[in-house]
């Protein structure tokens, strides 16, 4: 179907001053690409932070005994740990679910003592849920069925003056209030890259911790999901399957300070995106206004012919729409491959951050992978069309207020 004369008019008007149009489209496209890149970084960072946080012990979900959230008491245990574990593993979208128990303990070797939180874990599954346990500097992680073995952080080993094969004494409060001790043999040393974190790691088999403390069962079930954005839905589903003696917390609730940081980061990224769009807006407004001023007489003639203000504004917005579509195309053509490249290669910050760094007790790698996905398309359209439409409002207002008689008189 042949487009109406009005549409042809808008299309040809956009091409009227080709140099200005190219510059406008380039400006919109460049701004759009930049905004897509910033958002790609932001989305990638969110995913990255949450993934590493989840995989360094926090998990996307955690089943805890009722009341744990308030007291954060490491001595609490789930009343029906096996059932909770089975329910968690049966949940759709779960990558891994692991049981853990914790106890405040003192590790000692000779005259050296290190206080820390002793973790009892499932030797077969824990490395899948906690990537720090995959960072073995020496030795190996716990082996299923092997009793009396321990894995410690490098700083713990250094502070105890211990090494592989050495026996260390773990002392903790027993179930009956009595102090209990047990000997563990160091089978592996973990080096995370953060001394603070290395100084807090000591893992033993869950059964060994049960034997030491006399408390049966896990104190938590930590769940890793395939898609972290589904945490809320998965929490609700899992809660529905559990009894009243436990509750399910999401990573937001487990690490609220971390989530706060993420929100702050997201706000900063949005501010940067907003500034980019504002700069694009100013540029496009200026170009559009210049175009309208050049066509002042033309608009006066259109008005004289009976074209209503609404239709004239519509004509301008149609032109803006075309500019916006062209800008979105350029933005996608430039920003898409850019985001795609860094989604695969990653943005490497190791020159500034070293091989790894920690934040809020979480080990972060200095390579950040941007998020590449279908979101680029609607976002490019929203940014480009939104900014060109907004940028056209002032010139459109100018057109709407133009007095045709005055404009024609000036032009004659």
């Amino acid at each position: 179907m042949r487009p109406g004369v009005g549409s042809r008019y808008a299309w040809r008007s956009v091409r009227r001053n080709i140099r200005r149009t190219v510059l406008s489209v380039a400006g919109i496209g460049f701004g759009c690409a930049l905004a897509l890149f910033v958002d790609g970084v932001n989305r990638g960072k969110d995913e990255f932070y949450v993934r590493v946080a989840a995989e360094t012990g926090t998990g996307h979900l955690r089943v805890v005994p009722a009341g744990w959230r308030l007291r954060r008491d490491a001595d609490l245990r789930l009343t029906d740990g096996p059932a909770a574990l089975a329910a968690a593993r049966a949940l759709p979208g779960v990558t891994v679910a692991v049981p853990r128990a914790r106890a405040q303990a003192l590790l000692a070797m000779g005259t050296h003592v290190v206080p820390l939180e002793l973790v009892g874990a499932d030797p077969a599954l824990e490395p899948r849920a906690d990537r720090l346990m995959r960072r073995m500097e020496r030795g190996h992680y716990l082996v299923p069925g092997e009793r009396g073995a321990a894995v410690v952080g490098r700083a713990v080993a250094e502070r105890l003056g211990a090494d592989l094969g050495d026996e260390i004494l773990a002392t903790a409060m027993g179930f009956d209030g009595e102090i209990q001790s047990a000997l563990f043999r160091i089978e592996g040393v973990v080096a995370t890259g953060s001394e603070d974190i290395d100084a807090s790691i000591c893992q033993v088999a869950l059964e060994d911790l049960e034997a030491l403390t006399g408390r049966r069962g896990p104190g938590e079930i930590t769940v890793i999901l395939g898609d972290w954005r589904q945490a809320g839905v998965a929490r609700d589903r899992l809660s529905a399957r559990l009894g009243g003696g436990s509750e399910v917390l999401t990573w937001h609730e487990l690490a609220p300070e971390f989530e706060g940081h993420l929100r702050q980061d997201t706000a900063s990224a949005r501010l940067v995106t907003g500034l980019i769009i504002a700069i694009v807006l100013l540029g496009v407004t200026s170009a559009q206004l210049a175009a309208v001023l050049e066509r002042r007489r033309e608009f006066a003639v259109l008005s004289a012919l009976g074209m209503s203000t609404r239709r004239m504004v519509g004509l301008l917005l149609q032109e803006a729409l075309l500019l916006g579509l062209a800008g979105a195309t350029v933005g996608l053509a430039v920003g898409g491959p850019l985001v795609w490249h860094y989604a695969r290669a990653g943005l490497d910050f190791s020159r500034w951050l070293g091989s790894s760094y920690s934040f809020q007790g979480i080990i972060l790698e200095p390579i950040l992978y941007l998020d590449f996905g279908l979101w680029l398309l609607p976002e490019a359209l929203v940014i480009s069309l939104g900014s060109t439409m907004l940028a056209s409002l002032y010139p459109a207002r100018f057109v709407a207020r133009t007095d045709p008689a005055v404009s024609l008189r000036v032009a004659q």
Binding site: V5, L408, R409, Q412
Partner: protein, 251 residues
């Protein structure tokens, strides 16, 4: 005698620029009847363009009563005045003022599209251009046309929607004598064929010769209003009146 389609009683127009006030019209009394071919003459600054703009509802009078096609111009909103122009008034400008990015046909068709005419507007635009001897040039852009041709396209655009009143401000000022003559013949024949009312301002005595009525403005007042005897029958230019429906019919 046909009823007046324009009635001006004591119309004044004052332009204010900062603290300076300029009185462009000082109490114009005028009646224009349906089907007239009226020339508005007078020296520069006498108020011809201002009066045409007021009658064309592009502007509103500062004082006085101006009624155009039974509508009191001062009482109309901006949108109502635009609607009045769209439905009932055609404009021809001194500088042609065609939309440069549209072809001759599209310039004419655009007005019909604004009027809300659906299918058939392209055909109608072509017919009007053919009627004015521009059928061969329909797909040319204004830059590809001579001044005379552009002004004929402007006339086609003005009359395509069959307005009852066509206002032309110095339509021949940018044309040579031959083209001016052709244009005046065209407008006169359109009026004869379709009964449209033409009002045009001019300085050119050769153009005034074509007018049936000549109104002279001096210092914003009507100084003289002369009617000529009815023109002798003459041969209408080929094509005129053959295709263009008569004024008053709606698309």
């Amino acid at each position: 005698m046909s009823p007046p389609i324009v009635t001006s009683r004591g119309v004044t127009k004052v332009f204010t620029l900062g603290s300076v006030q300029t009185q462009a019209l000082r109490g114009v009394d005028l009646e224009v009847r349906e089907g007239e071919f009226l020339a508005l003459v007078g020296p520069s600054g006498s108020g011809k363009t201002t009066l045409l703009n007021l009658i064309g509802a592009l502007d509103v009078p500062t004082a006085g009563a101006l009624t155009v096609l039974d509508r009191r111009v001062a009482e109309l909103t901006r949108g109502e005045r635009a609607e009045l122009r769209l439905r009932s008034i055609g404009f021809v400008f001194q500088a042609y003022n065609l939309v440069p990015v549209l072809t001759a046909r599209e310039n004419v068709e655009f007005v019909l599209e604004l009027q809300g005419m659906g299918t058939g507007r392209r055909r109608r635009a072509t017919e009007v251009l053919e009627e004015l001897g521009l059928g061969e040039l329909a797909d040319r852009h204004p830059r590809e046309l001579s001044g005379g041709q552009q002004q004929r396209v402007a006339v086609a655009r003005a009359v395509a929607a069959r307005p009852r009143l066509v206002l032309a401000d110095e339509p021949t000022a940018n044309l040579d004598g031959e083209n001016a003559e052709v244009l005046m013949h065209l407008m006169r024949d359109l009026r004869t064929a379709h009964g449209m009312t033409f009002m045009f301002s001019t300085h050119d005595p050769r153009v005034v010769e074509h007018a049936v009525r000549v109104v002279t403005l001096v210092d914003g007042r009507v100084a003289r209003d002369e009617e000529k005897p009815p023109e002798p029958p003459h041969e209408i230019l080929p094509g005129i009146g053959k295709r263009l429906p008569s004024a008053g019919a709606r698309p």
